[in-house]
Symmetry: none
Subunit: 151 residues, 2 copies
DNA sequence: GAATTTGTGGGTAATAGTGGGTTGTAGTGG
DNA sequence: CCACTACAACCCACTATTACCCACAAATTC
């Protein structure tokens, strides 16, 4: 569904222009209704079309709520999940608390990841990408799932 | 499916002319729809016809997302995978972030590799080819999978 | 060597991205 | 309950980028 990188600038009001190629797609499936939340493993944000998000929230809510780890995840992910829409210019306004979490300044990177997008601070992503590549190349060993994977 | 090397020049706008012999083939199967992404092991780019790419993305997305190695691969490969098309002159415009990744300047090499093409900076490929040849000749030993391979 | 196909280089029009100004609404405090 | 403030939505205008087109140069082919 979604893929590809784009360098995007955040304006002074915290808005970002969604690349035109995705706008139509987003408008079609949900009339541009989106949900942004945080990624708990990396300091980046996740943007889902509403219909992709809903089953995820449902599954999170179904987790046993006496389990501390489950409660943590629920608090963090559902807690930060914010509804947003595309404005008339195809831009989205990122809520200040989430921008802050991901350390988003002016220059950022938007990356398609299947059913969602990821938003990274540009410098942070560059650095992270470097370390991902280094890890892949250094580890002689790939996990089993990947060993017989052919691209 | 695809094979052979071509020396190609990138123009000032980052466009490359696809060799005529492949154009018709690419146009037939997908109306010229292609996906470019990065190779994680080498600093080169991979170009797939859309229909070849889709099952790969599906397989990548199916990997367990709590597995760190799988997440890395997904981020890098799906994250960089960008849709492009042939223009009316049979050229493709390579996205700036990907050109940058592969260090593509003016002179580059396009190489058929079965279901995809690889794009290399010319100087980098020459160097890499040298070291591949050297490695093959120095290592007396071939991996088992190759021992009973006859050319 | 002429004709056709392929590769290359820009110019231009259309589209996308950017930066505020203005109005409306919701939240806050008196 | 009203006034004031702050933020968000909308609009418009400007800039940058891209896609498209055309024309020429180079290379093949006949």
């Amino acid at each position: 569904m979604f893929r590809g990188v784009h360098n995007i600038n955040l304006d002074a009001k915290g808005r970002m222009a969604v690349p035109a190629r995705y706008r139509q797609l987003l408008r079609e499936c949900n009339d541009g209704a989106l949900v942004v939340t945080i990624d708990t493993e990396e300091t980046c944000l996740l943007v889902y079309p509403l219909n992709e998000w809903e089953p995820i929230q449902a599954k999170l809510e179904a987790l046993p709520s006496f389990n501390p780890a489950a409660r943590r995840i629920q608090r963090l992910i559902i807690g930060h999940a914010t509804d947003i829409e595309l404005d008339t210019n195809g831009r989205m306004l990122l809520p200040a608390p989430l921008r802050e979490y991901a350390g988003l300044q002016k220059k950022m990177v938007m990356m398609g990841q299947g059913n969602k997008f990821e938003l990274w601070d540009e410098a942070h992503w560059d650095e992270r990408r470097q370390s991902y590549l280094a890890e892949i190349r250094e580890e002689g060993q790939m996990p089993d799932e990947l060993m017989n994977f052919s691209l």
